[in-house]
């Protein structure tokens, strides 16, 4: 099976853009690590306290780090005209949006997940939580990018839409944060991780269609 070419090219373009600019991967990475490292200085270094708040701090850092990069995801495509070409492809704009979001998650979501064991260790998170935490952060990060992608697509034509994206995306982040935090307490055997996965699937079903409609609007 071969992928239709616009999807593949959109995927390739997203990956190469991330490396070309240099900061594409490093910005959310640095933001995430920076937030997590600052926390012990603001909250105090008591190991018991850190172990208690550590997983939550990483959720917060992940949600904020996802917002940092969303502004540029579709705006660049609008400015260089790629979006106009995609809209002309019959009916594939939603799929392209999904592929772009997936690429975006690979570039600026997955590296953060790979970093969490290290940061978790520094924040005294118990080692038994490491694997469930990584699964939850991976699922949660993808959900953040899907809903955040809807907000980014809606405000693609707005100059300096960063605040707007954050305001729009905030309510949609709530279920992920709640299920994600509960999943860390319950581990992989609990129900919350299933709810988290279900909300990710729900986002996968709904968000691409909404992004497609919003991108068609932005290209007009």
């Amino acid at each position: 099976m071969t992928l239709p070419s616009p999807l593949l090219s959109a995927f390739r373009q997203a990956l190469s853009e991330a490396w070309a600019g240099g900061a594409g991967v490093l910005l959310p990475f640095g933001f995430f690590a920076g937030t997590a490292v600052l926390v012990p200085f603001t909250m105090g270094s008591d190991p018991d306290l850190l172990a208690k708040i550590g997983p939550g701090v990483l959720w917060l850092a992940l949600a904020l780090a996802s917002l940092v990069t969303l502004e540029r995801v579709f705006q660049a495509d609008l400015q260089d005209g790629a979006l106009d070409l995609w809209v002309q492809e019959d009916g594939s704009i939603s799929q392209i949006a999904a592929v772009k979001t997936l690429a975006h998650w690979l570039i600026s979501g997955l590296p953060l997940v790979l970093l969490t064991p290290l940061l978790g260790m520094m924040l005294q998170v118990p080692a038994t939580q490491t694997v469930p935490a990584m699964v939850a952060y991976a699922l949660g990060g993808l959900t953040f990018f899907l809903w955040g992608g809807v907000a980014a697509a809606l405000s693609a034509s707005v100059a300096r839409g960063g605040l707007l994206i954050a305001l729009i995306a905030l309510p949609f982040y709530l279920p992920t944060v709640i299920f994600g935090t509960l999943a860390l307490d319950e581990g992989l055997g609990g129900t919350s991780i299933l709810f988290l996965a279900a909300s990710t699937l729900f986002a996968l079903g709904v968000a691409p269609a909404a992004m497609g409609a919003a991108l068609r609007l932005a290209a007009d």
């Binding site: 405000s155 707005v158 707007l164 305001l167 949609f172 709530l174 279920p175 709810f195 909300s199 709904v206």
Partner: protein, 243 residues
């Protein structure tokens, strides 16, 4: 009934009389409910004494802000599918009123919560969080519309956001329900009938009806103002083109 009103001329003819009638009946009902609430209804020691009187504003405002979001999502859907201009005007009019009502609900809830729970704000409470989420949904909707360059784009973007929000609301509600709750269970709508004494229930329902009519009148007023504004723009454009 609504398809008849989709015609702007019929809507204007209808709302011309509906607005004052809704305001008058709504104010009368709400006034009666407030009289009952402040002077007639006995204070309830279990609910913190006289503070129970806040319920007659708080509970209807909570119902209304949920109803207003449904109205926003519904009219956005109608506009997105059928492109009825009036549906977008309705969505645009509902948003600020909905934001105001969610703010009112949160404020009265805080005032009620302070003596009964001992705190102004409680993150653990599922219903409080749901209303807060609604507040942000309304704010995001208004901010997005305000950021768009043209009316048409604002309408499309707003409709997409309102619909995505509406399909997410059950999920958000479910997730915050899992968050533990200090609130009492539902006491008005239950399978075995209302658990509330009639002396409380009647003013509550009348207050809801009165506030609902006032909200409808406010929405119609904003919609009429918008239609008049568009007519004025069209008139101005014609004058300018004629020179």
């Amino acid at each position: 009934m609504w398809s008849i009103l989709a015609n702007p001329h019929r809507f204007m003819a209808f709302s011309r009389y509906a607005v004052p009638v809704c305001y008058a009946i709504g104010t009368a009902l709400f006034g009666w409910a407030m009289y009952q609430a402040l002077w007639v209804v006995p204070s309830d020691a279990y609910q913190g004494g006289d503070i129970i009187r806040a319920m007659f504003i708080h509970v209807p405002s909570a119902w209304l802000c949920m109803g207003l979001y449904l109205g926003l999502a519904g009219s956005s859907f109608v506009w997105f599918i059928w492109r009825h201009e009036l549906a977008d005007i309705a969505a645009r009019a509902i948003a600020p009123i909905g934001a105001g009502y969610t703010a009112l609900c949160l404020a009265t809830g805080s005032i009620w919560g302070k003596p009964t729970w001992g705190t102004w704000w409680l993150w653990d409470d599922a219903r409080m969080m749901s209303v807060l989420v609604l507040f942000f949904l309304f704010l995001g909707y208004m901010a997005l519309r305000a950021a768009m360059e043209t009316r048409q784009k604002a309408a499309r973007a707003g409709a997409i956001l309102a619909m995505v929000g509406a399909v997410n609301v059950p999920l958000i509600k479910f997730s915050v329900d899992i968050w533990s709750s200090l609130h009492q269970g539902p006491s008005v709508i239950r399978a075995e009938g209302p658990a509330m004494a009639a002396v409380y229930l009647n003013p509550l329902l009348i207050s809801f009806l009165g506030q609902g009519l006032i909200v409808a009148a406010m929405v119609f007023t904003l919609m009429r103002a918008e239609v008049f504004g568009q007519q004025a723009d069209a008139l101005m454009a014609r004058r300018l083109s004629e020179g």
